[in-house]
């Protein structure tokens, strides 16, 4: 094999490995936010039952708990793929940064996963074995476990965006951890973790809203599902506002540490001060440095990127020159099209969701939710929005870090496994593709089936201390 040939072969293998990571993690992140958010919402429902002893809340707890359990299973097994993938496809990366990146991953397993899965088992099977108080504690510990797990994985991810708490070992050239607290208090981590948590609440609340709206529209037990609809709106409204606010703060932090990411999100090729924000653009992309931008809002980009009215945003061309001088020749500009649109898709949809929740709150206040078929239908279809926003958010974060796998430390193309061939990656791609498609179909079928089921009656008289039967396999 000639040199040129092996170069292009390696290039294809790299692209395929990147596609694989993108697809498996996007797929994984369909299930994760439902799990985190629905664990919290189910815990809230069960708390309502615990405090008020109204059987409606018990029925809702078990109804939404079943949806939670269906999703946890997929979230857990697809998470296993993510953990293995670092070593399988990205062994050079793992070898280089395992010293730092591995630590939060191991903490995640030990501190979060054990908690989550053990207490989920206790919750599902423990209805008739545990006291009401301990059983309630179990679902809250599940929720705590899911949130802790997100914390560690976001700490690891944030280190890739903005590496802190390390020094480069002179002998091996590898980064060595010197300060774990720096990793766990990385400003990128704190803000992106908050962002993930509210995104999870948005996702699960949107699912609960859609399911409740569907049940109310059908007319079976509207009295019961009005309670879950109310809960979902009460959670969704502040969560979506917070998501927008935290997201924009995260933008400011990222503009400081990863200026390329934010400049690309605005397709800002030249340095500006003050900078306006374009609502839409035609054209654009890495070869088009002067796209037609439509509706520019003056000062808004300065505000978003720097928190100040007249803030300066350095352009992509200037950043490119700066990076080339610092890291050597190469192209350091991420995919501008993805950055520009993923940011806007996320923000615009969030705006729409916020309007929907306002509409819902007004209807609720006037006691007209149950009769407004238009709102109920809109609420059902709105279930797709969080998944689009979540995917767009990850594209913005991860594509915006390119060409780096760890900002300033390792290029993505140098992180790939040297011993893994093109054929290997094709085989794994096909295998994961088949398994994930199957999983997706089964999960969807079961979710819809259970979401449309008539809510079962309360399993036991709840005013007594009689035990509720367990949800068995």
């Amino acid at each position: 094999m000639g040199f040129a040939e092996s170069q292009s072969g390696a290039r294809v293998t790299l692209d395929l490995a990147r596609w694989q990571f993108a697809l498996t993690s996007i797929n994984h992140f369909f299930f994760v936010p439902i799990t985190i958010g629905l664990a919290v919402l189910t815990a809230l429902l069960q708390t309502a039952w615990y405090r008020r002893s109204e059987p409606e809340y018990l029925r809702l707890t078990r109804f939404f708990g079943t949806l939670l359990v269906i999703n946890v299973a997929v979230g857990v097994v697809t998470g296993l793929v993510q953990e293995f993938e670092f070593g399988m496809n990205w062994s050079a990366y793992s070898r280089l940064v395992g010293d730092i990146f591995g630590a939060p991953l191991a903490m995640e397993g030990l501190i979060a996963f054990f908690l989550e899965s053990t207490f989920l088992g206790l919750w599902i099977f423990g209805w008739d074995r545990l006291s009401r108080r301990v059983h309630l504690l179990a679902i809250w510990l599940v929720a705590a476990g899911t949130m802790l797990s997100a914390a560690f994985i976001m700490a690891a991810n944030s280190w890739m965006q903005h590496p802190v708490g390390y020094r480069i070992d002179k002998a091996t050239g590898r980064p060595r951890l010197t300060d774990i607290w720096a990793v766990l208090t990385n400003p990128v981590f704190l803000w992106s973790y908050l962002h993930i948590l509210v995104a999870a609440l948005v996702t699960a609340a949107a699912v609960m809203l859609a399911v409740s709206a569907w049940q109310i529209r059908r007319g079976t037990h509207p009295d019961i599902f009005m309670r879950s609809l109310r809960l979902s709106l009460v959670v969704l409204t502040p969560a979506i506002v917070l998501a927008l606010f935290v997201g924009s703060e995260l933008g400011v932090i990222e503009a400081r540490y990863q200026p390329m990411k934010i400049a690309a999100a605005e397709a800002q090729w030249n340095t500006c001060q003050p900078c306006s924000f374009s609502l839409f653009q035609i054209g654009g992309g890495n070869n088009d440095h002067s796209p037609t931008q439509i509706i520019k809002i003056p000062h808004l980009l300065s505000l978003l990127a720097t928190n100040s009215w007249n803030g300066k945003v350095i352009g992509l061309d200037q950043l490119q020159a700066r990076y080339a001088a610092r890291y050597g020749p190469g192209n350091y500009v991420p995919n501008v099209f993805i950055q520009y649109w993923s940011m806007r898709v996320m923000a615009y949809i969030a705006g729409l969701v916020f309007l929907l929740t306002l509409w819902g709150l007004v209807l609720m206040w006037r006691k007209k939710v149950a009769t407004s078929r238009l709102f109920l239908t809109a609420a059902i279809w709105a279930v797709v929005t969080p998944f689009v926003m979540n995917t767009a958010g990850w594209l913005l974060t991860e594509s915006g870090r390119q060409p780096w796998i760890v900002q300033g430390i390792q290029l993505t193309r140098n992180g790939v496994s040297p011993s893994v061939s093109f054929t290997d990656v094709v085989i794994s791609m096909v295998a994961f593709g088949l398994v994930y498609t199957g999983l997706g179909v089964v999960d969807w079928v079961l979710m819809v089936r259970y979401a449309r089921k008539e809510i079962p009656p309360a399993p036991a008289p709840v005013d007594t201390d009689a035990r509720v039967p367990s949800m068995l396999y």
């Binding site: 793929v81 062994s91 030990l110 774990i180 396999y473």
Partner: protein, 336 residues
């Protein structure tokens, strides 16, 4: 003991914990169709591990993540080298994990049969593949001077590795059978006990052969490894105890057998972590793959604080679900 040696021991212990716990639920997964002659019986078998299997599987995640954190070089070479084997392992684990959750969600014969089949296949394939991988670590694989694996998928399938896989599957079967005997009553328990009794002697012979082969591969001469001897004795003890209807003791015996079988690989491996068949000097060791001492120290503190907590609530979970299940429990109740 040095910090790196401590971490090697810890990883060996986590792998052992994984096989001791997940081992019986691999066994139950493989055997649920045999011990349960009808749907209530099968459901009784599956529900013995219902609340436990997910937590048990976390031991595997922790084993992988601990290798990543403490020995990134080992994790990188092993996971990229065992590529196709790991794809198969992940598929097996995914299918198996999902089958527990989804099998009971519909009451239709074809649905139940399909998920049962997938559960059996996944529960068999997973310990087999991990066994092959662990055997390969000790047997040696083509690894070059920059710690990269240079073989193919087929290079992984050498006789000792395959036999290690078969050994672990055999121990999982017996371990699962003694677990079923301990956790069920009635007809399911009867068949579990019979299976334990019948499979244990076969497993004992397999473990004996495995112990001898392991000792020979390690090339440490006539020096007797007590871990391997305990493994062989424990399986024979399990065969006898199952016969005597001492369910608890029989399960304790298979637990010891499982632990020592896994530990015998690691005890022969130390201080290497992956033997290079290309040149002995290229072998990966705890020293040339380890993280810096700061990371190892931080993680040791985390383990010292949280592992005891995990063990306490895990033990409490087993206590909560100590009651035996019977097919009668599932005759009245329908899925839902």
């Amino acid at each position: 003991m040095t910090l790196v040696s401590f971490w090697f021991l810890l990883i060996a212990v986590v792998w052992t914990g994984f096989f001791v716990l997940e081992g019986f639920d691999f066994g139950v997964g493989m055997l649920h169709g045999v011990v349960g002659r009808d749907e209530p019986g099968r459901r009784a078998a599956i529900n013995t591990i219902g609340p436990l299997w997910d937590g048990n599987e976390v031991w595997l995640i922790v084993a992988g993540a601990a290798m990543f954190a403490a020995f990134p070089g080992w994790y990188a070479t092993m996971f990229s080298g065992f590529y196709i084997a790991l794809v198969l392992l992940l598929a097996a684990l995914i299918v198996r994990g999902i089958s527990f959750e989804y099998r009971g969600k519909r009451d239709q014969p074809r649905w139940l049969r399909t998920w049962s089949g997938l559960m059996i296949g996944g529960s068999l394939l997973a310990p087999l593949l991990i066994g092959v991988a662990l055997g390969d670590l000790l047997h040696g694989l083509p690894i070059n001077g920059s710690q990269e694996y240079t073989g193919s998928f087929w290079t992984l399938l050498q006789p000792y590795g395959i036999f290690t896989g078969i050994t672990l599957v055999a121990v999982c079967v017996t371990h699962g059978a003694t677990f079923l005997a301990l956790k069920t009553s009635g007809a399911v328990r009867g068949r579990g006990t019979a299976l334990a009794h019948r499979s244990a002697p076969v497993t004992a012979v397999v473990v004996l052969a495995f112990a001898l082969w392991t000792h020979a591969i390690a090339g440490k001469g006539l020096l007797i490894n007590p871990v391997e001897i305990i493994a062989v004795l424990a399986v024979f003890a399990a065969a006898w105890l199952a016969q005597e209807d001492r369910d608890g003791w029989a399960f304790a015996a298979t637990t010891v057998a499982m632990a020592t079988t896994v530990l015998s690989i690691f005890s022969e491996l130390y201080p290497k972590v992956m033997v290079s068949s290309t040149r002995p000097a290229f072998s990966l060791t705890i020293h040339n793959t380890a993280s810096g001492s700061y990371t190892l120290k931080v993680m040791a503190i985390v383990v010292a604080i949280f592992l005891p907590v995990v063990l306490v609530y895990t033990a409490w979970t087993y206590y909560v679900f100590r009651r035996r299940l019977s097919d009668k429990d599932f005759r009245v109740q329908h899925s839902g």
